[in-house]
Amino acid sequence: MRAVRYLALSVAAVVFLIPFYLVLRNGLASEQEISAPSWRFWPREIRWENFASLFSDPSVPLVRSMVNSLVVAVLQTVGQLLLCGLAGYGLARIPYRYANVVLYLVVATLMIPAAVTFVPTFVVVSSLGWVSDLRGLVIPGLFSGFTTFLFRQYFLGFPRELEEAARIDGLGHWGTYWRIVVPNSRGFFAALGVIAFVTSWNQFLWPLVIAQDQDAWTVQVALSTFLTAQSINVSQLFLAAAVSILPLVLVFLGMQRFLVRGVTEIGIKG
């Protein structure tokens, strides 16, 4: 029984890893090899020089789009943790007459997936003049009702004794939050931060809509443009894809603990 389990898991694991292998294989093979009449699992030769030609080809805006993606992902991660963390704490811990009204407005947005409202958001962002602009790429994604809601639920369960001790020491809400609550919630911030980073790096629809000039493309938009084009250098495209997943694979290997926690928080409270 145990052997059957391990056999099933191993077969599944190989199937799951094949697509990753294919990205690397096709990226490092020659064009002739990729379109060879018979399929070979291992390419005849590994062409490391593909890297050099990828980065020296001026028609492929890979570096520029990777930098754009990185800037957008970092700003969205930091911005979301800052704004949604503060809001979540205020909603959880500061009694105020209209707090419930604000909470209802936040919860109401949970029923509406952001992607479904891309047309309305585009209408507003374009009248602000933010098309093909970093502000248009980053700012609309900062105000996640979902993240704020998760923070609120988390802070509701934060040990009150710690906060009361801070109060006795003369700290107000602001000081308590930054000196006591945040340093004691690093794991939770890391969990939601990793999720925000991965989501931002991989998002496609919004950057496609808003980053219309080539200079504003994120790496996903750049890859997609070449993928849907008629004539392409297939091996270069695969190598670019390999480079584009590298940052996330590193995040996965280094922060998987937080990622798993974040996914669990989202699935259970969401």
């Binding site: 890893l17 018979s38 205020g90 500061i94 209408v123 507003v124 993928l227 008629q230």
Partner: protein
């Protein structure tokens, strides 16, 4: 009063952003949906409910809802069953458990664009030497055109397996978390009562105990399928446009509001409002079922 100041200090910046980037767009679109607005985001002439009438009688719009239904009918049960199976398998082993969990979770690091690239140009590239056709060849089957074929089911197989690969690990993690919350003594009691370790405990203990997780997983899967865009756009779209079939709602909306035929924000807004109402209705209904 002092509390009011502290409250807005914390919540104010977020609340303003929520207003400007969520509520104002929805209100503006609601307004636009009653107007003609072609190539402009300001309402031009009032048309009443005509945009809505156009959308609701538009064949492609209705068939996009049909496309979503077909997609959901495949992807929701398949992901559910396979993610649960993986979770049960991974949860039962001790040696190399972390390794297998990581491998199944790793595709989450991949974007739909990269997955589309692999599926479209490598596995299912439709020529004789593509990976899928090579494997078919071992069994003596003829090569299949996959994504360039216009008749189901072939492009469905491509789209469904792609999404399965990408999202299975995420839902497996949710099921593992659910499994680990089941109290061990329930199983011990069942074994003492003579229940077998396999099917009987699964049927009478594991599945009922996973009810909350299962409802959450189904809801998340449905909402995710409703928003399907990335893989459809990248697998089936070309720079000449998108084929007239297999258009889920967001693909349809994208080409209506922002497509090459000019920007039409009146109809686009009406479509967005209809789609928002539909999904909000489903989530509300589901919420009722959970809290009941």
């Amino acid at each position: 009063m002092r509390n009011g100041r502290a409250f807005w200090l914390f919540v104010g910046p977020f609340a303003i952003g929520l207003l400007v980037f969520v509520y104002v767009p929805i209100a503006w679109s609601l307004l636009l949906s009653f107007f003609d607005a072609r190539n402009t985001v300001t309402p031009t002439s009032f048309v009443g409910l005509r945009n809505y009438a156009d959308m609701l009688t538009d064949k492609p719009f209705l068939s996009s809802l049909g496309t979503f239904s077909v997609f959901a009918a495949f992807i929701v049960p398949l992901t559910f069953v396979l993610a649960l199976a993986l979770a049960l398998l991974v949860n039962q082993i001790s040696f190399m458990q972390a390794f297998f969990r990581s491998v199944f979770f790793l595709p989450t690091a991949c974007s739909y664009v990269v997955a589309s690239l692999v599926w479209k140009l490598s596995i299912f590239n439709g020529v004789r030497f593509g990976l899928a056709n090579t494997v078919l060849g071992w069994f003596g089957a003829e090569p299949i055109a996959w994504t360039v074929s216009t008749s189901p089911p072939w492009y469905w197989l491509v789209l469904v397996t792609l999404r399965l690969w990408l999202q299975l690990g995420f839902y497996m993690i949710l099921f593992i978390a659910g499994l680990q919350r089941i109290p061990q003594h329930l199983y011990e009691a069942a074994w003492i009562d003579g229940a077998s370790r396999g099917w009987q405990t699964l049927r009478h203990i594991t599945l009922p105990q996973l009810r909350t997780t299962s409802v959450a997983v189904v809801l998340l899967l449905l909402v995710a399928a409703y928003q399907a865009f990335d893989e459809f756009y990248n697998v089936l779209g070309t720079d000449r446009g998108y084929p007239p079939f297999a258009r889920p709602p967001l693909i349809y909306l994208y080409y209506t509001a922002l497509g090459s035929g000019g920007q039409d924000f009146g109809h686009g807004s009406a479509g967005a409002v209809i789609l928002t109402l539909l999904i909000a209705g489903v989530t509300l209904l589901q919420g009722r079922v959970i809290t009941r």
